[in-house]
Structure formats: C-alpha cells, structure tokens
C-alpha cells in the first residue's frame, strides 16, 4: 500500500511540475517570436527577433519589471518559419503548447499571421503582428471579450493609412526634384498574397492623389530578371515607376530600370536610405524611398538615431528593412507597461490595459490601439536627388480610406 501511495505521490508531483505555468520558473516570462530567418522574406524576417531581442535586453538590463509585487525578467524564444506557412504554424503550436509563452510576436507575412492567430487566440495568447492588413479580421465583433481575435493586435497602421501617407509623401518629395507635377504612375508589384492585397490600397491612394495609373505589373515572387517587366512599364512612358513592396526585389530591379531608362523617376517601397548610401547607389533621376515606419540611414525622427545605434550595436545587420524591427520593438515595452498597469499576466486584464495605455515609443510619442486593436502613426518617406542629397519627412496618414 505504501508503495502505491509513493508512486501516486510521485506521479502527482510530476504532473504538477508539467502543469506549472511558464512564468513561475525563476520569475522568467517567455515571449515567442515567429519570423522568416531564412527563405524569401528573410530581409524583413530577421528584423523581428532583432527588434524584440533588443527590447528584451533593454528591459532586463534595467532590472526587469514588477507584477504582483514580484520582479520578472523576459526571455525571448524565437523560431524560424523559413518563409513557409506550415513551419510557422508548427512553430506557433510549439511556442504555445510546449514552451508556454505569454505573448507572441510575428509574423511579417499577412497570411502566416492569420494561420498563427488560429492557434494563439483560442489559447488566449497576446499576439502582436506588424501587418497592415488585418482590418478584415479585426472587427468590433471579433475583438470584443470572447471574440475570436480578442488577443490579437496589429502593430502597423492600417493599409489605407500607410498607402495614403506613402503616396502623398512620394509625390510631394519627387515633384520639386522632377521640376514638374508627376501625372502618370506605373506600379510593379510582387505577385503574392501580400503584394496583391497591398497594391489595391496603394493604387487607390495614387488615384486619390490624382495620378493616372495605366497598369499594375505583377511579377512572380523570386524574380531576379526584371527587364521584361520594366520594358513593359517603359512602353507606357511613366513619370514614376513605383516598386511595391519587397525591398530586396526592389533593389534588384532598380539598377535594371536605370539601365533601361524605364521612367523619369522611381519609388522604392521599403528601402532605407541607409542601404542607398551603404551600397553607394546612385541614379541620374530622382528616387524616392519609404521606410516602415522610420528610416535608419537618414531620418526626420529625433529618436531614430539612438534606437538604431543600439539596434545595430546589438549585432543586427544593416538591412533593407531594418526599420521593420520597430513594428515589434516598441510593443514589447508597450506590453510590459500593460502587464505592470494590469498588475497581472491575465490575458483579459492585459488586453484591457493595452487598450487604455498611451505608450511613448520610438515610432511615436503617443502609441495607442484603437477599439479594433490597430495602431496609427506616420510613415517616413525620403527622396534622393540625382546629385545624391537625401531629404526625408514624416507623412501623416489620411483620416479616411479613399472612396473607390
């Protein structure tokens, strides 16, 4: 009988150990990151763990944070989704069920995020995604308590806002450099789910700014030879060719466009002026660039330099889209502030706190989530003159989506 009791006690202890919440262990709170650290989206993907990792280090170096009278430190657990949706789903399942993270950051890809949310939301895991494209699922019904996306937050402005501020900024900065008001634009867009989705908004934004857009030229993902697409664009005699939206593809396409003399000016979405300078790029025509959300190579945002100095000092490479890290970095601090305000890790209380806070971040001094869990802030646009001078400005988003 004694043996049976001992066995039962041991089994109970073992089960108890397995059932223990992750944050009880040495006061460590685990947060997960799912991002493309390899594959075609690596350029944006590797900025996620870099941005989150920097925030984790900053918080831990400052002594951690207090919740319920206890001091906690953060631990980042990252997983490479290899730009593969099945891998992203498996990684999310592992982080939620086995690692037992308190929050998840990622992915940089819209449809990956949708798949991940199917796992994070039923498990009541706070989930931040730097996608501008979640408006269709983040509705008043879905985010209300008990709704299917109550714990999901969009840490990038809505696409009509980002497209609107970007289009306005591009046209405003290019006009003086061109010496005339640009009227005709052609868009060259990667033909994947994100490209198709984003281009429809940017097309409307350009039309709202009075542009004639005779063609949107889609290219297959992983294209390296853009010359046939650019030649097609050239046949339309555009004032501006807008490369939308993969920064790596854009950098591949631009030299080919310049060789072909495809347009009078160009816009490179998601290419930082820092890369422009580092790669010693030059053009005989004006070239506009935009960053998501703030540029590191040249910026009109006073906090950007300090942030990016720390970001690169932590070992992150200078990338085309290093600024994407800011769509995650600020929200680790935001989340910790919410836990402190709620004085609890309870996911429902955390959501309440997130919705009530005004957070001072790098991107903006007043980061807030609207009732459908979406953030709003400006986008930075820069332009390089043919001589090489670069000027930048923060462009505020339009208040409303353009009427189609």
């Amino acid at each position: 009988m004694k043996t049976v009791l001992k066995l039962a006690a041991s089994a109970a202890l073992c089960l108890g150990a397995f059932a223990r919440p992750a944050l009880a262990e040495d006061n460590i709170v685990k947060i997960g990151v799912v991002a493309a650290e390899s594959g075609s989206f690596v350029s944006a993907g590797h900025t996620l763990p870099a941005g989150v990792g920097l925030a984790v280090k900053q918080i831990n170096d400052a002594g951690g944070f207090k919740v319920g009278g206890k001091t906690y430190k953060l631990e980042m657990v990252k997983r490479d989704d290899r730009t593969d949706i099945a891998t992203a789903i498996a990684a999310t399942q592992e982080l939620v069920r086995d690692v037992k993270v308190q929050a998840i950051f990622g992915s940089e890809t819209h449809d990956f995020t949708l798949a991940m949310a199917k796992i994070t939301q039923p498990a009541k895991i706070i989930h931040f995604a730097g996608n501008s494209t979640l408006a269709k699922i983040l509705t008043p019904d879905s985010v209300k308590p008990g709704g299917e996306d109550h714990y999901l937050f969009q840490s990038e402005p809505q696409e009509f806002q980002r497209s609107g501020s970007t289009a306005r900024g591009v046209l405003t900065l290019l006009e003086p450099l061109l010496g005339f008001k640009p009227k005709k634009s052609v868009m060259i867009v990667g033909n994947d789910a994100t490209g198709q989705f984003l281009s429809s908004y940017y097309f409307k934004a350009l039309k709202a700014e009075g542009q004639d857009v005779p063609d949107i030229i889609f290219y297959p993902p992983d294209t390296t030879d853009f010359s046939p697409f650019l030649t097609r664009a050239k046949s339309l005699n555009p004032d501006i060719i807008h490369f939308w939206y993969n920064g790596d593809s854009t950098l591949t396409a631009l030299p080919q466009a310049l060789e072909l003399g495809a347009a009078k000016s160009y816009f490179l979405f998601g290419v930082d002026p820092g890369i422009w300078k580092e790669k010693q790029l030059s053009a005989d025509v004006p070239v506009a660039m935009s960053c998501v959300p703030v540029c590191w190579g040249e910026s009109s945002n006073p906090k950007a330099k300090t942030y990016f100095d720390a970001y690169f000092a932590a070992g992150a490479p200078h990338g085309v889209t290093s600024s994407v890290s800011l769509l995650y970095h600020d929200y680790v601090h935001f989340l910790v502030e919410a836990w402190q305000k709620a004085d609890s890790f309870d996911p429902d209380k955390t959501v309440e706190a997130l919705l009530s806070l005004h957070h001072q971040g790098v991107v903006s001094d007043d980061l807030t989530f609207n009732p459908t869990h979406q953030v709003t802030h400006a986008t930075e646009v820069c332009a390089a003159a043919p001589g090489g001078d670069i000027s930048c400005s923060m462009q505020q988003p339009p208040a409303e989506a353009p009427k189609s």
Binding site: S38, T224, D225, P228, S235, L260, K279
Partner: protein
C-alpha cells in the same frame, strides 16, 4: 508612325532581355542534361552549384580581385566541389539513380545552410563588371548583358566542338548511348562520369558568376534557376546538349514576351506549361533525349 517605332523598339528590347537570362539557364541546362545523360541522376542540387559559383565570385570580388579572375575561381571552385561530391556521394548511387536524386535533394538544404551559416542569408551583389549602356534607336543595350551572351555562345560552341569533334566527345557520346557496351570497348566510363560531373559543375559555376554580374543572388537563388534549367533540359530532350541550347533560347524568349505582352504574373507558368505540352506531345523533348544511361541490370 512614332507609335509603331516605339512598339518595334520595345519588341527588340524584349528579345534582348530574353537572350541574356536564357544564357544563364542554358549553362545550367547543359550541366543537367550531360549529367543525366551519362549517369541517370537528376541532380536537383545543380541550382545550388550555380549559387555557390555566384558566392565564390562575390567573395573574390569583395576581396579586391577583378571580375575575370573571380569567374575563373568560381569555375574552379564549383568544378572541384562537383569532383568531391561525385567521388564522395554520387558514385555510390550510380546503380540506383533514384538514390542520387534523393541525395541531391538533401544537398540543396545542406549547401544553402552552409552558405547561410558563413555568409548570412542576405542578398549578395557585386559592382557591374561592365557599366556601359548603348542606345541604338530606342533600344538600350547593356554591355554586361552582351558580355553574358557572348561568353555563353563561346562556352556552348566549345562544348559542341569537344563533344562532336574530339575523341573524348565520341567516347562520351558512346557512353551516353550505352554505358556497358562503351566500357566493354575500353572506354573508362567511370572516369567519364567524374569528368562530366566536373564539367557540368564548372558550367554551373560559370553560370553563377555570370548571374551575379547581372543580378544580386541569395543562398536560395538556386531553386528558381534549377527549375528553369530542368524545364529547358526537358523541353530540349534530357541528355541532348543541342536541345538544351535551343530550348534555352525558346524559354528565354517566351519568358520575355509573356512578361512584356501577356499576363506578367504568369511568366513562370508559361515556361512550365510549355514544358508540359512538349512532354505530352513529344515525351523525349523537342529534339529527342535519352531515358538515362543504358546498362545491364
């Protein structure tokens, strides 16, 4: 009249665009087709051989060497890699080419991750070795693209010459035709297999060097290129070097025109639809191919 002139300029520009990328694809396809013809191995890692050629070129140019020397290094390095892999891996799969195919799939992942481990996954590019752009009428001709086309023509011509007119070429063709009989006739088939592997790899190395002269590459570039290389090899007829060259040209032009005049997002699909149609109508390719080496079971 001016509209017609512009349309003609654009048409010629699209042909020139197609020829330069067709050159790189042809270099891959020749390697693929030679290796298959002699060994029966479908080496899907051939695209990674090309990628390694690009990486070696990038490393050499980054170290301050000239582009011409970097190209030579890429050819030698990838040729050597082909030798080591054939001796160390593929020769054990010659009797069961399916195993060679599986090995090549594993090699894709290994080679990609070795490059990522040492040189990160970001894009790599080199300054254009030639920067002049000629404008003829309304057509812009980049000298670097002309260089790629001319080098490919020279290499293909040399390969033709070697295969059709030399003693070694005749022995090689005999080995492709019937490996066992060729061996009975005193041809050192095993050595030819190694030689073809090295030659095919060296051509991929050259393709990689030329590719990075045109466009940036990543550790994952090989996957896209090898699919097109295989499409070309299949359209031309697996094992048929003439077919590979002709199909490379066809594919390059089809891609250029489909991007320029058709539904641009389907550019890759047109190539593979063409491949499927050819395989249905002519299972051995447009110019006839082999079903792999003939040998006693």
């Amino acid at each position: 009249m001016q509209q017609v002139s512009i349309a003609v300029d654009i048409f010629i520009q699209q042909i020139l665009n197609g020829l330069s990328i067709a050159s790189v694809i042809t270099l891959i396809a020749i390697g693929v087709t030679l290796i298959f013809g002699l060994t029966g191995i479908i080496n899907f890692a051939h695209g990674e051989f090309l990628m390694i050629g690009g990486i070696v070129t990038w490393l050499a140019v980054s170290a301050g060497l000239g582009f011409a020397l970097a190209v030579v290094l890429a050819i030698l390095a990838v040729g050597l890699m082909g030798y080591v892999l054939e001796r160390g891996l593929f020769r054990f799969t010659l009797e069961r080419p399916t195993n060679g195919f599986i090995v090549s799939l594993g090699l894709i992942v290994v080679l990609q991750h070795v490059v990522v481990l040492f040189w990160n996954p970001n894009q790599k590019s080199i300054p254009r070795p030639l920067t002049t752009v000629w404008e003829v009428g309304g057509v812009r001709i980049a000298s670097v693209r002309v260089m790629v086309i001319l080098i490919t023509i020279a290499v293909v011509a040399l390969s033709f010459r070697m295969i059709t007119a030399s003693r070694y070429g005749r022995a090689l063709r005999a080995s492709v035709e019937d490996r066992d009989t060729a061996a009975l006739m005193g041809i050192p088939v095993r050595r030819y297999i190694t030689g073809v592997f090295v030659l095919g790899s060296a051509l991929a190395g050259l393709g990689g060097a030329l590719l990075i002269a045109l466009f940036p590459i990543t550790p994952f570039t090989g996957g896209t290129m090898v699919m097109k290389g295989f499409a070309v090899a299949l359209i031309g007829g697996l094992g048929n070097i003439y077919g590979a060259v002709a199909a490379g040209l066809i594919l390059g032009i089809v891609e250029g025109f489909s991007a320029g005049y058709g539904f641009s997002q389907w550019t890759d699909a047109y190539s593979f639809v063409l491949m499927i149609l050819v395989l249905i109508v002519r299972p051995h390719g447009l110019f006839g191919g082999t079903s792999g080496p003939r040998m006693a079971s």
